[in-house]
Symmetry: C2
Subunit: 295 residues, 2 copies
Amino acid sequence: MTDLKQALSNTAEKIEAVLDDILSPKGAPEHRIYSAMRYTTLGGGKRLRPFLVAQSASLFDVAEMNALRTGAALELIHCYSLVHDDLPAMDDDDLRRGKPTVHMAYDEATAILVGDALLTLAFEVAAQPETHDDAEIRIELVDMLARASGARGMVGGQMIDLEAEKKDLDLEEITLLQQLKTGALIGYGCEAGAILGNASAEQRQALISYASDLGLAFQIADDLLDVEGSVEETGKAVGKDEDAGKETFVSLLGINGARDEAKRIADRAVSQLSIFDAKADLLRATAEFVVVRRN
Amino acid sequence: MTDLKQALSNTAEKIEAVLDDILSPKGAPEHRIYSAMRYTTLGGGKRLRPFLVAQSASLFDVAEMNALRTGAALELIHCYSLVHDDLPAMDDDDLRRGKPTVHMAYDEATAILVGDALLTLAFEVAAQPETHDDAEIRIELVDMLARASGARGMVGGQMIDLEAEKKDLDLEEITLLQQLKTGALIGYGCEAGAILGNASAEQRQALISYASDLGLAFQIADDLLDVEGSVEETGKAVGKDEDAGKETFVSLLGINGARDEAKRIADRAVSQLSIFDAKADLLRATAEFVVVRRN
C-alpha cells in the first residue's frame, strides 16, 4: 500500500504540472474563465483516473508524456462533471475537495461555462500531436473518450441518477446507473492505456473487465463513505444520499453486505489481470485500495 | 436569393436526416436524455453553420456525406450552446425557435445534461470514420472544433458577454466578444470545408477571412433584429439586449449606422472570395443574405 500511495502521489504531481500548463492561457486575454477553470481543476483530487491511464499504459511501455496528457484530458472531463454536478439544479453542493464549489466561489453562470470549457478542452488536449504522434491513435482516444463521457456513458448515468430520485431502483438498476455514471470514465482510463500501447484484443479486454469491476467496487466504497465518512475526511458533504432518499448499494445491501460485496468485486478485479506480470501490481493494489480508502 | 433559399433548405433537410440518425439511441435504453436531445436539436433552425461547411467543402469536391457529418457535428455544438445559454442562470429565455426552451419543457438539470451530451456527441461524430476516411483529417476537425468552441472561442465569448452586463463595452470590445461568441463557430464552418478538401493555405485563409466578416455582419444584423424584429418573425424574445442594459452594435452605432456597417462588412466578405470561381456564388449570396434576413 505504501508503494501505491507513493505512485499515486507521483502521478498526481506530474498531472498537476501538465494541467497547469494546459490551463495557462498563453497569449489569450486573462479571462475570468481561465481563473475559474484553474480554481476548480488544480490543487486537489487523487487523480485516480490519470493514474489508471499511466498504469495501464506502463504495461505496454508507452512514453510517459503520452500517458500523462491522455490522463489529463480524462481528468478534465472528470472535473467538468463535478462542476456541473454540484450546480443548484443538480446536486446543489457547496463544498468540493474541502473548498467552495465553483458556483459558490464565482457564480452559477460561470460554473456552467467553466464545465463547458473543461469538457471542450479535454478533446482539444486528446487531439493534439503532443498526446501521440499517430493520428489513428489520437482519433481513437477522442472517439472512446466521447463515448465514455456522453449520453451512453457518464451523462446517461447522471440522467438515470436524476430520475432515480423519483423512483426506487433495484440492485440491477443501481449497478447499470453506476456503470455509466462512474464506471465509464474509469473504464476509459484503463482502455486508454491499451489504445496508446497498441495492446492485443485480449489485453485490452482484460483491462476493460478489470476497470468494470474496479469502478463498481469504487462506487460501493463511495456509498459506504457517504454513510460512514466525515466531512473532514471526504472534503465534501456526507449523508447526502440518505437525505435525498436515494437508493444506494448500502441501502440495498446494508453496511456489512455492501462491504463484503465491495471486497468480492475488488478481488475479481485483481483476477482479471492474470495475463499480466508484475508490471500490473499497482493496478492490483489499486483495486484493494479503493475499498479501504477514507476519502 | 431564390437559389440560396433553395440551397439552404436542401442542406437543412439533409442535415435533419443526419442528425435524426445520430440522435437515434440504437440499442441503448430509451433515456429521457435522448428525448430531450432530439427535442432541442431536430425540427428547427436554418442550419446556417452546416450550410457553410457544405458550401466551403463543395469548392473542393468533398464527398457530400463527409461535409454533412462535419456540419452535423458543428450544429450539435451550436445547439448545445443555445440550451445552456437559455438557462435561468444565463440568459433565462423561455422561448427558442418558437417553442419552450429545454429547461421549460423538461427541467433545468435535464437542460444542463442535454447540453453536455450534445457537446460530447459533436466530438464523437467528428471522430468517427464515416466523417472522413483519413484519420489525420478527422483529428484536425476535432482539434479545430474544440478550439472554436472552447475558452478561447465561443465559451470565452459567452464569458465576456456575461461580464459585459457589469460594464459598458466599446466598439472594439464588442467586436472581440462577437468574434468569439458567434464568429468562432461560423469560422470553423468555413475552415472545416478547407480541412475536408485539403485546401491550399491561400484558399484556407480566404475562407477564414470570409467567415470572419460573415460572422460580424451576421451579428450586427442579429442586433438589428433584436431591436426591429418581432417575436413571430424571430421565434424568440426580442428587445432583450436593451432590457439587459447591454451594449450592442446598434446601441453603439445607431440603427442606420449599424445597417451601413453590416452592409459594408458583408461586401468585404464577398471580396474575400475573389480567388474562387462561380462555385463560391452561394457563399457570396450568403453574405448578402445575412444582412437582410428577418429571422
